[in-house]
Symmetry: C2
């Protein structure tokens, strides 16, 4: 495989945050009517100005800088004292032990953790079960390491509330046909659905039965809305050597600018991840690691308030989307993503996403980033200024009418 | 290839910074005499407490945090305005144009840049010319991507001052036998030697003739001692599409804790690097990127002073090493590494390195990390407190006598 071919599959043109690099030549002739005025909203990621970083995070960073060399240079897997603090809190949060010395690694963002986890479990030709839709990097990582993808559908639209809708028969068939690894996010990105206790228990059962490794990305598992119940896979009856859980303080806590993530669980997988981190980036930025001291130790009521604010935005945006004829939108139970399906349009949905940017100053991520079957979906990170987000979705509604098939 | 086998070659047990994880069981019976007292010195990396970060770096970081979302979320290749600033300065420093929009990427450390550069140029089975000795990750990266290594010797001990001693005949043979990529550091890590103008010109000539891609790691190219002359490969007659240069403000500037690096040159290679960065770590920590504003804009005289301090330490340590019977040490012309060869000992050199840690509180990196032919070498990063470093090398000298064969 030539290097050009290998990278041709790693497109980032439509990836969140890269819109500034898109070429829009030829699109002008598709534009209808006047541009819609309003505060620009970039739904490709959360707005850390509207929802500010955890109180005290900057101060803890500053102390890290002041403490000098011992914070700048850490083990590749991160500073041991900080790992110990984080391990204790994650054990409480997830309901199963976390071993600080050998069972946890600090990485540059959860993206860093996901990259290392897939690299440490998927060899060339290995079969890997991947959910559709799911976080766009899962697919790309499997492709990059030349694994063979075995898609498992998430029938989130048909599933009842409280159930994600994973096709468990398809998952078993994937294991039965040789899938060695299963990678999924819970809450699911992009739909915001949470796996039910029954689904998680069945995943544990199947992984154990088939001896498969599970990488579960729980990035948004702290931001859960009223009525949502959450089951941690690692606390189920599952071989602890075969599971790695990924989290990070980047999203809910608005700490993305520090690039921090953690992976914890199987010490043999964490060992491999550290070996690779040594040549990928050495370590998460030393001073940034200090910010983890604030994680799971936010001021009383801070997280409740953050959840309440997000739930209010969620509900208002959902009402707007549901007011558009032909739109389907399931209520996200956690996280900050909305994944509505748009009706048929007279332009392709890919072009419509670009038109939204050009005519309405609204950036969303096309559904095809998450599944080949989600061409009519758009993903919005609704961790935004409340009013600006509402106005932006009203502009989307206006443009849907302009371009309706 | 199983995942276990793939990772078995990525050992980090002797890698710099990982000494705290080493098992020293069984070593006690080798110990002779009493422990030597003194300030512990970790020569595996520079001491950023002894040589502090660039003035203003922390303030610029703080401004980055205050500026919020636009600094937290950047293009994967980094904030455009910062890329423009850095591109202008690097063009002046290296003597050849740098294209900010398409020809430069900001990465998590120079390690991040090196990883992406090798990943973006080496496909499975590709032949890659690698210098021996050279930075330990070069070899590991080629192995990780399943390239075929073609070693080229650096006869630094025999070369005259001002010449690195690259075996240019061996390099040509490697290209002639199909090496598509050549990766090397200049100044060389671990020896601190600088390639002569003739060597660099010949590398350019050979790479052009054979259509090979060159990845040159110039991390230490700012820290040059009196009398050293430096030639930038990218300013020579070489196809700009086939060269990527790597630098970063981590070492000389003591900014490692922010994890920043840059790669610049070929836009097609930089494009691939960004695609991969999107799934490896998304981007260099957003707030950290702001620190690049201080790079190549240090206060008047600051760099001269830093060089003077390091040159003084270098000269004192060299004198001590040369006072040990049987030690060979070439004078480093740049950077902060010393790579002396020790005489024959009654224990293996690998054990001696561990004994240094246990009996003298001195950490050095074994030569085998850099070349299979450097078993008698040890690498010291002499960016340390001057007095502590001198005392530590005196302890090394004492232990060499205790264990002399």
């Amino acid at each position: 495989m030539s290097i050009q071919f290998k990278f041709s599959r790693l497109g980032t043109d439509n990836a969140p945050g890269q819109e500034g690099r898109q070429k829009s030549a030829g699109l002008e002739k598709l534009l209808r009517g006047e541009p819609l005025k309003g505060t620009p909203v970039d739904f490709s990621h959360g707005d850390v100005d509207a929802h500010e970083p955890t109180p005290g995070s900057y101060e803890v960073f500053s102390e890290g800088v002041r403490s000098g060399g011992k914070q700048a240079y850490t083990e590749y897997r991160g500073n041991l004292e900080i790992r110990e603090i984080v391990a204790r809190r994650l054990a409480v949060f997830t309901g199963a032990p976390v071993e600080a010395r050998n069972g946890l690694i600090i990485t540059p963002g959860t993206q860093g953790a996901l990259f290392l986890a897939v690299a440490a479990t998927v060899a060339r030709g290995d079969k890997v079960a991947i959910v559709q839709p799911d976080y766009f990097a899962n697919r790309k990582l499997v492709e990059f390491f030349e694994g063979e993808m075995m898609p498992v559908q998430l029938n989130y639209a048909e599933a009842s509330s409280g159930t994600a809708g994973l096709d468990l028969g398809e998952l078993e068939a994937a294991f039965c046909n040789g899938a060695k690894v299963f990678v999924f996010s819970n809450p699911n990105n992009p739909t915001g659905v949470v796996y039910s206790n029954e689904e998680i228990r069945r995943i544990a059962e199947l992984a154990t039965h088939y001896g498969a490794t599970v990488v579960v990305d729980q990035l948004y598992s702290r931001l859960r809305y009223e009525g949502a119940s959450y089951t941690h896979l690692r606390a189920q009856d599952i071989d602890a050597n075969n599971i790695v859980t990924i989290m990070g303080p980047s999203k809910t806590e608005s700490l993305s600018g520090y690039r921090l993530g953690v992976a914890f669980g199987s010490s043999s997988i964490i060992d491999r991840m550290e070996k690779l981190q040594a040549i990928v980036s050495l370590r998460a930025a030393g001073y940034s690691q200090a910010v983890l001291r604030t994680w799971f130790a936010e001021p009383e009521g801070w997280m409740d308030n953050r959840i309440r604010q997000h739930q209010a935005i969620r509900d208002d945006l959902l009402a707007l989307f549901r007011g558009i004829d032909g739109v389907f939108a399931r209520t996200p139970e956690a996280g900050s993503y909305l994944f509505p399906r748009l009706p048929a349009l007279s332009v392709t949905h890919a072009d419509f996403v670009k038109i939204l940017r050009l005519q309405a100053d609204v950036i969303v991520t096309p559904g095809t980033e998450f599944s080949p079957h989600s061409g009519d979906g758009i993903r919005l990170n609704f961790s935004q200024d409340h009013e600006a987000a509402l106005a932006a979705v009203q502009r989307i509604a206006t443009l849907v009418e302009r371009y309706r098939a």
